[in-house]
Subunit: 302 residues, 2 copies
């Protein structure tokens, strides 16, 4: 399925006769950047965005041909910024493809392993490396950063500052090898995550529907009608229609406390008769329901 | 219901003949600390814990009589650390009560509003004050901290350092008034959150079951059997039994990628016949199912 997506993306690019512009959550060296290079190779142009909402915006405006956003990590769970962006931008973009990327963390620094006293990274990443850190660096100060690429940037700056005044450098970052090479940090230890098999699923956003591949998924977002058992009613519609749901998530509706927007992935294409009829029937149990896209199912982990 | 809980907690305390020890996520001045003071008043002893898992541990070990953990915010959604802690510690503690606390954010600093150039807080809190910050402090550097109380501590330290060298203080924190008074910062602006009515629901953990109050909720955690439609089967059991579900959440199971532990709240007490029969029947669709506790429903926002 990935190969089909890739061919389609490339053919789109040739038709446009200009390089594909791919938006992702930056700064450069983020896990989204790494995922984008794995998915799109290097013959495209990457644009780093300040936040996930900006990826949606730039695709909606046509400034980027495609945007790549993380939707779920196998350990950390749903990526709330992406789910919330769908509640605000669902009508302007469509899900064009999905990609599964294996996530590895590395300790990046420009000093000896024994000199490290301060480690920068995202709080979620510290969590994913908790056992390793407790064993290897029980005394190190863990400093939260907005992203792993920001953390690498900070560690590199602290190294330069320490060098400038002749002080002992003590800073490291946890990130990926791409961030290390961008910000000039050495990879001290690779694969320091506590659990192997850490996978993040990314969605590729576009403005046009993907072509039917024969092995598709359909993402749907809905707000249930305000009555007891409304969620069960919606899910039962798909169950009765023989449509398998592969995923469910939810976020606060932002309209009223303790009301929720739900996200489900169903097997099949929105044009399949069983699924399209189930969608119509499910809408009857909802205040509103939107199809976010039908797209080829990812079967391979990159 | 709160009053009933309070009386019960107090009577437990008199029986023990020593002050109630209440564990919460610290450091002092956190929103959990503020919630604990609203719920328990000041005639108890508060113990700040390093992380949410430690609150579970200290209750399980009997070092604290009760522990208070956030479970969901009306804007931010489920608190993943608490949900994950239940998957590891469910057998050792029980949910004894719930409390809803209104969350307000304040800008805390020891300099003039116009001098602030750097603001410390949790990334989630920056999100909740996004519009206000963009209007009032579009140029300020927003520095992520592990907690709002850590942020207040850092801002207070930076103020002292600036004073010591005769420099202009420029640091502020977003937190609550309690953190301001603990770390010696003035409240510059109150209620700077973008959405009013921001409420966090906390759970009070104990080692003994709460008494039946007549207006109870029951929290249940389960891993569905590995077959299509398993979640619908479980939810349908409660629907058919006439048991209303007030809440659903989920976290990665941590056993296998893309498998989940689900959390639901059902109206009623686990000893009610409709609910207890539904629980038995639902278990048949699950790999495992645990009742996390039956407790008086919170009807009032503190």
């Amino acid at each position: 399925a990935i190969e089909a997506v890739w061919r389609e993306l490339m053919s789109g690019s040739f038709a446009l006769e200009l390089p594909l512009r791919i938006g992702y959550l930056g700064p450069a060296g983020s896990f989204s950047h790494q995922a984008a290079t794995k998915q799109f190779g290097s013959s495209v142009s990457f644009e780093d965005m300040r936040d996930i909402r900006a990826v949606f915006d730039e695709v909606a405006r046509g400034h980027c041909h495609y945007g790549l956003v993380p939707i779920e990590n196998s350990i950390g769970g749903g990526i709330v910024e992406s789910l919330d962006a769908f509640t605000e931008h669902a009508s302007k973009v469509t899900i064009y493809a999905e990609a599964q990327i294996e996530i590895h963390h590395a300790l990046l620094a420009n000093c000896e392993p024994g000199q490290i006293r301060r480690i920068h990274s995202k709080p979620e990443i510290f969590m994913q490396c908790r056992t390793w850190l407790a064993t290897q660096y029980p005394q190190a100060e863990l400093i939260p950063a907005a992203s792993s690429s920001k953390a690498a940037m900070t560690a590199a700056q602290e190294f330069v500052q320490a060098e400038a005044i002749g002080a002992q450098p003590v800073a490291a970052a946890i990130g990926n090898a791409l961030a290390g090479s961008i910000y000039g940090l050495n990879t001290i230890f690779e694969n320091i995550e506590d659990r192997p098999g850490n996978v993040t699923r990314f969605l590729i956003l576009g403005r046009e529907q993907a072509r039917r591949s024969g092995d598709d998924k359909t993402s749907i977002m809905f707000n249930t009608a305000d009555k007891p058992g409304a969620l069960v009613s919606v899910l039962s519609v798909f169950d009765s229609a023989g449509v398998n749901l592969t995923h469910i998530d939810k976020r606060p509706s932002r309209r009223q406390n303790w009301q929720y927007t739900f996200f489900i992935d169903a097997e099949g294409h929105r044009d399949d008769s069983a699924l399209s009829e189930a969608i119509v029937e499910a809408s009857g149990h909802c205040k509103d329901l939107s199809v976010l896209g039908s797209y080829p199912r990812s079967r391979r982990i990159l």
